[in-house]
């Protein structure tokens, strides 16, 4: 539609307008462009300044922070660290979060691939109904089952363990959906037939042919799974009670109510420790992550 009207208009207007286009850009090029760059840089500064304040304040003593604002680093980094560590062990939170997120990512990647393959390449009774049901459940917000989930964990005796945070990752409808779409377009059934004729078992075909082909899509989804698990707050908050088992986000909440909150420098340092590794990882992965977001939204 649009293309057509555009072409129609172009026929009638091109003669008059052409001269305008050719003469316009040359002189005007620099000033608006500079303005736009200035604006973009200002936005980049706004994006980054809270982190900068955090990093600077992490090195300043409580008194220095209370007395005024500066972007010049102080010299209280070691004291702040000692104060913070005397109340909470932030590295333990780090380790717990890492442990959970890595397992969640592995489970979600493997079992979603398995399920996606099952949905894509076999014909069995109830397949379509199950698939549609899964898609419908995908729309259900996570909080809907929160209370039932808590009760279930209580009855199974798995509260205050990592089981409720890790095992459910084996059923990730969105990842299954994404991987199914992916493998349907990338893996031709004739390849599977050939492997069967060569005598490979079904699971062997899956492990040696399907998984390698799905790997780019699994990697894409893994980034989101990992970030989602790493940032998850409400689930560990509900399920975990023992401070030594807390994940990083829950530990951050704990930090707020603890004695550390009295010392702003230590507080900033604690937050900085939770943030900086992600920023460093992002430095190396930013291109990949950005591409994944684009792919995820368009494939959807």
């Amino acid at each position: 539609m649009i293309g057509k009207t555009a072409v129609d208009n172009s026929l009638s207007n091109s003669v008059q307008k052409k001269s305008v286009i050719e003469t316009k850009p040359k002189r005007k090029i620099s000033i608006p462009k500079l303005l736009i760059y200035a604006l973009l840089i200002a936005m980049a500064i706004v994006c980054f300044i809270p982190f900068l304040m955090m990093l600077v304040n992490a090195t300043r003593s409580n008194e220095a922070i209370l007395s005024g604002f500066t972007l010049i680093p102080g010299s209280a980094l070691v004291e702040n660290y000692q104060t913070m560590m005397s109340y909470i062990n932030i590295w333990a939170g780090f380790k717990n979060s890492l442990f959970i997120s890595v397992l969640v990512t592995l489970l979600s990647g493997y079992f979603s691939a398995l399920t996606a393959y099952g949905f894509a390449f076999y014909v069995f009774k109830g397949k379509n109904a199950m698939f549609v049901f899964m898609l419908v459940m995908m729309m259900v917000p996570g909080q809907l089952g929160l209370i039932g989930f808590y009760e279930l964990c209580k009855n199974l005796g798995i509260l205050d363990t990592y089981i409720p945070l890790i095992i459910p990752a084996a059923a990730s409808p969105f990842v299954v959906f994404f991987l199914r779409q992916y493998i349907l377009t990338t893996l031709h059934p004739s390849l599977i037939e050939a492997a069967r004729i060569d005598g490979a078992s079904e699971f062997k075909i899956f492990h040696t042919i399907a998984i390698p082909i799905m790997m780019p899509a699994i990697a894409t989804m893994s980034i989101f799974t990992f970030i989602g698990s790493w940032n998850n707050y409400i689930m560990p908050l509900v399920v975990l009670f023992s401070p030594e088992k807390f994940t990083l986000p829950v530990l951050m909440g704990f930090l707020k109510g603890s004695q550390v909150a009295q010392n702003l420098g230590s507080m900033y340092l604690g937050i900085a420790i939770s943030v900086v590794p992600i920023m460093v990882a992002f430095l190396f992965l930013s291109k990949y992550i950005v591409n994944s977001i684009s792919a995820g939204s368009i494939k959807e």
């Binding site: 286009i21 809907l144 089952g145 039932g148 459910p168 990083l248 909440g253 950005v290």
Partner: protein, 299 residues
């Protein structure tokens, strides 16, 4: 061949086992609890629709509903506005900006940071007397007296909206750009030849062709926004102060269940939230696609 197809069940069995136990069952159990007066211990007694009746007249829930909408709405308008302006600038064939990868990364960075860390960070940065933000603004001469960001209902809600915008506009920008890069250059060239100005190009070509992407952003953002929890929980004392202005629906659900042990009622709150999400998602879908029953365009 028939035998081989039986393997399909083996492949999907682990998924369904976990899915039934940890997703379907909790959702069903919550539904059952929403008709009871369960308090977390002892027997659950059926009370019919009492919880739902209470929900409809509960001023705290209604307030939480409007708070959530206000916070999400302001954030969404700002976030989309910024994302679209940025997309317009970066896709303009006449300007041809460089450094898109750099800006994209910087704009996206806040989105990656754990929300609880973000909440804590802004909690102390926005502090009335000792927060670095007030100190910086005063030093720069932008304000003369410290602003009590988090202690006054309107500014507290606005602060949360702005933090959310800060966190999400980069993400929306990336998604919009992905959509824009899928639009054929021919349209823009034709528009350029026609002498269409930037706004015409943007509103008559980019926006209509981006409809599916905009719908995607809007629905995912709405679902996420209605579940707003971490920020209000950690920015305040956990019950949505000041004046209940940061009391969101999920925060209310959490407090009803795990603070006051009203499991039955909290379950009804969860279903209320679900129905609200469904209604508004359908609403957005209708609003954007309305009468033209076209297939969403694959970009």
């Amino acid at each position: 061949m028939k035998n081989i197809n039986r393997y399909g069940y083996f492949f999907i069995a682990p998924f369904w086992l976990v899915f039934l136990v940890f997703s379907i069952y909790p959702v069903a159990l919550t539904f059952y609890y929403s008709f009871t007066n369960y308090t977390g211990s002892g027997e659950a007694q059926l009370v019919g629709l009492a919880n739902y009746k209470r929900l409809l007249t509960d001023t705290y829930f209604v307030e939480a509903f409007f708070n959530t909408w206000k916070i999400w709405g302001v954030n969404f308008a700002l976030q989309m506005g910024l994302a679209l302006i940025l997309a317009m600038i970066f896709s303009d064939m006449r300007i041809k900006l460089k450094g898109i990868a750099f800006f994209r990364s910087i704009f996206y960075l806040p989105n990656l940071i754990t929300i609880s860390s973000v909440a804590l960070l802004f909690g102390i940065l926005l502090d009335w007397q000792h927060g670095s933000l007030n100190m910086m603004l005063m030093k720069l001469g932008i304000i003369s007296d410290p602003i009590n960001w988090l202690n006054e209902p309107t500014s507290a809600q606005l602060s949360v909206s702005l933090i959310l915008t800060w966190m999400w506009f980069g993400h929306s920008f990336i998604v919009v750009m992905a959509g824009v890069s899928g639009i054929s250059k021919d349209y823009y060239e034709a528009a350029l030849i026609d002498g269409a100005n930037r706004w015409q190009t943007f509103s008559k070509i980019t926006i209509p062709l981006l409809k599916p992407i905009l719908l995607y952003i809007m629905i995912t953002s709405l679902i996420g926004g209605l579940q707003l929890f971490d920020l209000p929980m950690l920015l305040t004392d956990g019950i949505g102060s000041p004046d209940g202005s940061l009391n969101t629906m999920v925060l209310y659900l959490y407090n009803q269940a795990f603070k006051y042990n009203n499991y039955g009622y909290a379950a009804a709150v969860a279903y209320g939230l679900f129905v609200i999400t469904l209604i508004f998602s359908a609403f957005i879908f209708k609003g954007m696609y309305g009468k033209e029953r076209k297939q969403p365009r694959q970009v």
